[in-house]
Amino acid sequence: MSDVTRMTATEVAALVAGGEASAVEVTRAHLDRIAEVDDRVHAFLHVDTEGALAAARDVDARRAAGEPLGPLAGVPVAVKDVLTTRGVPTTAGSKILENWRPPYDSTIVTRLRAAGTVPIGKTNMDEFAMGSSTEYSAYGPTNNPWDLGRIPGGSGGGSAAALAAYEAPLAIGSDTGGSIRQPGAVTGTVGAKPTYGGTSRYGLIAFSSSLDTPGPCARTVEDAALLHAVIGGHDPRDSTSIPAPVPDVVAAARLGATGDLTGVRLGIVTQFSGEGAEPGVLAAFRESVDTLTKLGAEVVEVSCPHFEYALPAYYLIAPSECSSNLARFDGVRFGLRVGDDGVKSLEEVMSLTRDQGFGPEVKRRIILGTYALSSGYYDAYYGQAQKVRTLITRDFTAAFEQVDVLISPTTPFVAFPFGSRTGDPYQMYLADLYTIPTNLYGGPAISVPCGLSEGLPVGLQIMAPTMADDRMYRVAAALESAVGTFTPPAL
């Protein structure tokens, strides 16, 4: 058997289904790889060795009993630490949840288990998913396998790095303003943000409820589509979950892989003309546009005039919601408690707990959001931001009357060195410039590797109308079939 950790999820699943390798062997190979490289990568906050082996044994037993196995049975999957996993530490990258073991599984994890995938551990992330570099994790940053001195993207840097370091063939992320796609782009992997409501948020520790979207991360488009199909679909526990079947993303990916995009109309957003973007990123993007045209796609320019207000609107809406969502972290019922000496008051304990439990970016956003929602400022800030959100949605609707999907670079720049943007929050926020409009709109978007710039991966983003997730998989798979996948240097 060749090295199973280098295989795609599709290949691993075939191996297990065909009996050429047991799920336990596959799992052990990945646990070994984690043991070998993760002290340098630091993709994982917790490796659930026991749980993973138990899940793998269960798959092997079911196979032995002749039970039908799902298309991803026996495949290890790394789960962003923002999703609750019963009995397994879940911290959302924060000190305030250090050692917290939830009494329940998130719906995503429930579906992963039901599909026979093997949850192998919890991946590092910016605290409460706030950040674009994983430098805001309370447990130290994750290093980009392409260059250990650079960021792996954020907030889902751990999930993306686990894929790029061959520690897992599949991973789960969550995308509030680009936290699946942006790490995907800077690590040369595939990351998809499904339609908002297309994947359940039940058990996803909330950052910004109206934007948060869990989604698949993989090394190939087909793998991402298979994972998407496993975790997607209506969940009665999430009121915002869409009561409709997931579009057939797997079939769309396979169709795209034939390399034919005849009749597909791609839109390039005028407002994403590249101001502030690195020349290497723009060059890779233009080359990809040529490639897509050669595959038969028609490319037109469309105007989305309100996209330029997306970033400020996002940085009012997301902090506003987070200021409310994070109110429950008070040191009373779960997680960290500081100063409980029997003398201090409840308010003092709560204050000390939050001061020590929350990191700087989380505090910044809570304060920002509290201010934006306060009476007297609500209309000027939150209210205005919601109006901008409506206008951005209209931009998308109008654009999708002209084209099937919109394309752009995923990020304005390739992976940057650690510390280069933490001093200036605005510079950090720019990392999500191209990804944020989609979150405000609610539609799906995917990042797929499209080339290299100065030896580092560049991602292409494909945005589709809500509930048309299949379209973006088709285009992504077509591009992948033309440009191939990108392998980082050996660790």
Partner: protein, 497 residues
Amino acid sequence: MSAIVLPSYDDVVERYEPVVGLETHVELGTNTKMFCGCPTDFGGEPNTRTCPVCLGLPGSLPVANKAAIEATIRIGLALNCSIADWCRFARKNYFYPDMPKNFQISQYDEPLCVDGYLDVEVQGKTVRIGIERVHMEEDTGKSLHVGGATGRIHGATESLVDYNRAGIPLVEIVTKPIPGTGALAPETARAYVTELRDVLRSLGVSDVRMEEGSLRCDVNTSLNLPGDEWGTRTETKNVNSLRSVERAVRSEMLRQAALLDAGTKIIQETRHFQEDTGGTRPGRSKETATDYRYFPEPDLVPIAPDRAWVAELKAALPELPRVHRQRLQEQWGLSDLDMQSVLNAGAVELIEQTVAAGTTPASARKWWLGELSRRANEAGVDLAAIGATPAQVAELQRLVDEGKLNDKLARTVLEGVAAGEGSPTEIMAARGLGVVSDTGALTAAVDEAIAANPDIAAKIREGKLAAAGALVGAVMKTTRGQADAKTVRDLILTRLS
């Protein structure tokens, strides 16, 4: 604050005009909580009726309870409100030790029901109370303070929280300000809460028990000089009996009048009602009021009640208490005064059910307002708790109608019914209380009476038939009241003719 001398109530209402407003919280009687599937039963071992959702654990999400939405719409319809085509939940952000998420899911500027009214009777006059809104929210948990002498937080060594109540569906019903009630402001407030309680009970949406907190009131009161704008209001929180509603309004009127007389401004604040004194003490003032930072709840989709569904719910509303009472009064042929005494005795349903079991309204009313009310008063219990059911009362009356019991015997049987000895027929049999109308058995008693009262017998023979009553009485005495009076009288007259 130095003690203030209160003016007299008459003096206050002569010089000031009160405006009251009421916010009533009602716990809905749904099987499950507002946003999760946990049971809503009262009590239970602390924290056994909880789940990640009602505990507000990280990652958990609310899902609105359709039964609660339906109940709220029915309440809105019963209160003549418009039902919103589209509305949303909002988050009310504030810290409260027993509130799991540190925000409450409520409705803010987009309530489900708006702009209705409720007609209530105040001393024989109908007053229309405007309803501002009816909206849904979730209840909080309960704190228990342990180690102190009083059970309050002061002096406690530790505080425990029970989240069983957290997430119970609540409906808040807010009136518009009620001006123009003058001296009857306290009675009007009470009449409103009473009528509201009856409406909610008739809808079957809540057990409306004020003593268990399933219905609780915040009472707003203000005073102004005639012709002036409305005064600054205070809000007296969590008033939990009908009597206290009335007392709270009255005491706030007196307190505010004293302050205004002294030239002191009323500050807008929440106050707490004190059952022992009937007064209020200050709570939070507006200066330190929380900024709730309301915004639309992003975890829940908006509610857009289907119009056909709302129409169905409207068509299926039960007859509301006021209409129901008017119909019964008409059917029973009662004067306003008589109906009032039925209402005061809390006997409407009991009489109605007794009539339904086959008794005339007059007979039913006679038993419930007479013998049974007397017993209830003596025992100091509600009429409904006296131990006799409408079916038993109807059976008793039937026995009287059939001549098997006379009035006196019937009262004795009723005593047995109230004591739980069984049905009237069973008690009659067990105690041997039936009327004896068998002539054979009575003839001896009649003859005995005639022999013992020759003077009376002579008068009857002379044609003075009215004298027969004395002999009937004598026979009744010897038969312990069980003889049928008419049979006895006939026998006497036959014997002496």
